[in-house]
Amino acid sequence: MTATDSIAETLDHLVADATDHHYSPYTRFDWVDELADEQWWMSPDLLSVAGTALGERLGTERLMALSKWECVNFFSLNIHGIRELLMEVTRRIHTPGFEVPSEFFHRFLGEENGHMWFFAQFCLRYAGKIYPDRTLRIGDDSQDPQVASFLVFARILIFEEIVDHFNIRMGRDETLHPLMVDINRAHHDDEWRHIVMGRKLVEHLYRPLVERGDAELLDRLDTYLRRYMTGSIQSLYNPAAYRDAGLADPYGLRNEVLADPARVARHEAFLKRITRFLLSSKIITRPPFATEQPREST
């Protein structure tokens, strides 16, 4: 069986599963009229201050307020991430090189559109806003189509793996409101298919880049992806969320909690699955927060 046959077989299974579990996002959830501020909107151990000295100083009431705005930040990041992946996958569906996954891309695009809708619905109903996108694409996308496609699907996979860590935790957290549990669970129930596809595609798209024998290129991709992983983690620390939770000096607070040694293990946990995958595929040479080491020749 060729690599392409293997991908086709996996995608056939994923398409069948997506068809079996198809639902309308517009009727799937019981939207309550309002959600009280005095409750956990996010599992406390997932908050950006969890385990830190600052987190210890904040009382339960402040932490609950922060959980509301970090939940909104998390859903806002999802909205912006989905926007990028919708655009990039739409650019590639039914184009040369993407014949095999295009059938699955239809399911993927449909499901992601639904996810974007329910995340936005939640933010706008219960917080009255979506935090703005703070990223900016400033012309550093590769002009090489093979490299560009690899990076697009690697970014999508990293984003989905991090989000899934949060979804799995909150989809099982009975201390959260049933609506929040349901949204996180529904997202995870679809995302596992996207992650399976993403891993297959990323490995498939990386192979021809390795075959070029260009060590400088592989170094660059390695560095880029580790920086992307680090940046994705940093985006969970939003000063606007601290401000909305009523916390003073939101930028200083962000610097303090980001530098707190207790956060290292949390970051590793958030990135554990995707780091293991990228290391085992030899796409990255070390975890994103590790110190510099030279790449071994491939």
């Binding site: 703070r134 900016l136 400033i138 012309g139 880029y224 940046g231 985006s235 930028y251 200083g252």
Partner: protein, 77 residues
């Protein structure tokens, strides 16, 4: 305040010893897509306000002069 911005950029770009006021930070790759969100938050902290990423303001982020005269204008600490 613009010296703090210059120092922030120099600390993140090995081998760069100085940055001119009119040097294009994007063309010279002192800032790229991955580094931009942290740069934006740093500038917000200096400016003391949330910055709007409209197209016009993006131009202001391209040089230290633009940052000094447009992004940080009026900011005082």
């Amino acid at each position: 305040m613009i010296d703090e911005v210059r120092s922030w950029l120099l600390a993140r770009n090995d081998g760069v010893t100085d940055i001119g006021l009119d040097e294009d930070l994007i063309d010279s790759r002192l800032i790229d897509s991955l580094g931009f969100p942290e740069f934006l938050l740093f500038l917000e902290e200096l400016a003391g306000r949330e910055l709007d990423l409209g197209q016009e303001s993006v131009v202001a982020f391209r040089t230290l002069r633009g940052i000094r005269d447009r992004v940080l204008a009026g900011a005082g600490r």
